[in-house]
Amino acid sequence: MAAENPSPISRVTLRAIGIGILATMTAAVLAAAVSQLSTNPQSGAALAAAEVAIFMLGVTVAAVSGGLWAGVVSALLASVVYPIVESEGHSFHVDFEQPQQLIASVVFLAIAVVVGLLVGNAADERNRATRREREARLLANLSGKMLSGDVPERVMDEFVQVLLEPLGLATCQIAVTLDGQEIEAKAARTGLAPGGPTEVIPIVVSSVPLGTLIAERPAGRRPLTRDERLLLEAATRQAAVALDRARLDARARLAQLDAETNQLRAAMFSSVTHDLRTPLASIKAGVTSLLDLGTRHDDAQVRELLTTILEETDRLNRLVGNILDLARIRAGALIPKRVPTAVDEVAEAVVARMRPRLAGLAVDLQLANDLPEVPADPVQVDQVLTNLLENAARHSPRGGTLRIHIGRADGAVRVRVADEGPGIKREEREKVFEAFYRGRESPESPGSGLGLAIARAIVLAHGGRIWIEETTGGGTAMMVDLPLEWSAEETAL
């Protein structure tokens, strides 16, 4: 049995001696009581047998409950006490030369040793079984945690924490280098001073050293037993496997991300090339025909060409603005300059500015009274509303109505921009916020596929949310909540 106490006479030994003494003394008292029961000298032999049996019982009880040493102590004591009790009323002297007494002493000792050894073996077996079960549980627990797919940092944190108690460690730390990234985890048990015997176990995956595990026992305690050390090594191997898996996972994720980025980049290039070249082509065609002095245009033709050039310039400008916004979002530079902003006022200004582009559509602008200001960047809120209105206008039938409603929601100012267009299918609703996504219904629509992506990025940077609802007429309602409260901890994007 593992003795935790460093003193030579352990508590366990003291306990064994105590149990031995107690058992024999109890037996002596019982035997004395039995010898008093009968004064008939004829029954002396039967009485002596009963007394021996009581002492044997005492030794057995001591050996069963206290182990080998308790039995031995009890037996030795019984050898001394038995003759006293036995000779009571006959003679008062202890004489080991008397064969009866000597036999009794040998029998007591034999019982003590046999029972004590049996009990001790059983106890050892039980302890071993308990330990094996504990180890199995620990390893199972660890492998569960290792394979949880959590980030390696957290897995390692759990790992060192789990090892502490079963191995009686004061501290346990792990330090590995994974793809150039250093991961360290350390756990310590409170109330245990570190500085005891220390195990350093290398962590190796496919014969590549990743780092080390350091397990430290409390100051002044014994080192780990061989079994405990084997357990620690088994656990460390599990950690190594888990780390290897995490490393492979990270590589796979990176590769996937890379592929997605490339795909997006390809989509962006083709989309941007097309969208930038189209207005430029119109402008250049218009200007060159106006410059062509050999051809005469009448006033109406000149005006038409110039109008085209102007419209295409505006389109190009909006597109460039969107691409710049997207680049800013990608670069993580979309940081709102927050001032108290009246969303209703911004909406009015956006509608006023967009009137020419909303020609042919009715605009129903409803603003709740006493709307609070929100901490927001007015330029960016303007951008969100402009993009939502452009999107709604693009999907509206001629002569349709755009309904803009701004009101209060729970802890936010809520904007709703509803159109009378064909609506967006439920499964497409998240996708429309992705850059370069164009609805299936209108793959050649004049939008760049950037407006809603930018709107979402801005709304998220403000700690708000954006989503799509269906109108009663089957059209689309773009919803935006801009929070009234803002705390600096909330990170953009």
């Binding site: 001032v339 006022e345 009015e348 006023a352 303007d382």
Partner: protein
């Protein structure tokens, strides 16, 4: 009328000079802020068109230096995203801004309005007449469609501040100090509330304004054309 264009882009300088000269303005151009300040002192132009993104000196600093010796109207040319730059340039003494790319007619209209305000003081008009609105500045009376409007003293002060700077973009800070006093400057909620009330009484719709235009995050502009 002399116009000074301060912009580091030669194409912009050319694109501005040709139509301005066609409108009869005398145009000179420089490419840096330093040259710009010197040119204002030496040429004494009637109007300055100033790019905010100059390579040498910050546009706001250029305005501050010009304001050290001249009241010449300054119109800022800027890109969309430099909102806070616009506000600080306006607060430093610029008269107006247009956002690049701009339509020439818009720039010309802003230029005319700025030149008119800076022109020789016309005898103060006792009354201003608009489509449906009349303002008797001497008697502090406002009528809409012939009916007298009841404005609170603050509303009237706000209206007066706006109509006496027609076409000019008035920043929140400027309006707050002018109407409420020097100690004010950041209480945009007050201002917004009064502008809203004033608009309602004047029958002006902010989403298709004919009198007061909102420049979100910057200020307000009176666009009513007096007869």
């Amino acid at each position: 009328m002399k116009v000074l264009v301060v912009d580091d882009e030669p194409q912009i300088r050319r694109a501005l000079r040709i139509p301005l000269e066609a409108k009869g303005y005398e145009v000179s151009t420089v490419g840096t802020g330093e040259e710009g300040v010197v040119a204002v002192a030496e040429q004494q132009p009637d109007l300055v068109l100033l790019d905010l993104g100059l390579p040498d000196v910050d546009g706001t600093e250029v305005i501050r230096r010009i304001r050290g010796f001249s009241d010449v109207p300054v119109i800022i040319l800027s890109v969309r995203d430099a909102q806070s730059d616009k506000v600080s340039a306006l607060d430093a003494g610029a008269d107006d801004y247009v956002t690049k790319p701009f339509a020439m007619e818009e720039l010309l209209a802003r230029a005319r309005a700025a030149l008119r305000r800076a022109g020789p003081d016309e005898p103060p008009q006792p009354t201003l007449s608009y489509d449906r609105l009349e303002i008797d500045l001497a008697r502090r009376l406002v009528t809409l469609d012939g009916e007298q409007l009841h404005l609170t003293p603050t509303e009237y002060a706000l209206l007066e501040a706006l109509v006496s700077n027609p076409g000019k973009l008035l920043t929140h800070q400027w309006l707050l100090r002018r109407v409420w006093g020097q100690g004010y400057g950041t209480e945009t909620t007050y201002l917004r509330t009064y502008v809203r009330a004033l608009r309602r009484k004047l029958g002006d719709d902010a989403s298709s304004p004919e009198l007061i235009v909102t420049e979100p995050g910057v200020g307000y502009r009176w666009v009513g054309e007096s007869r």
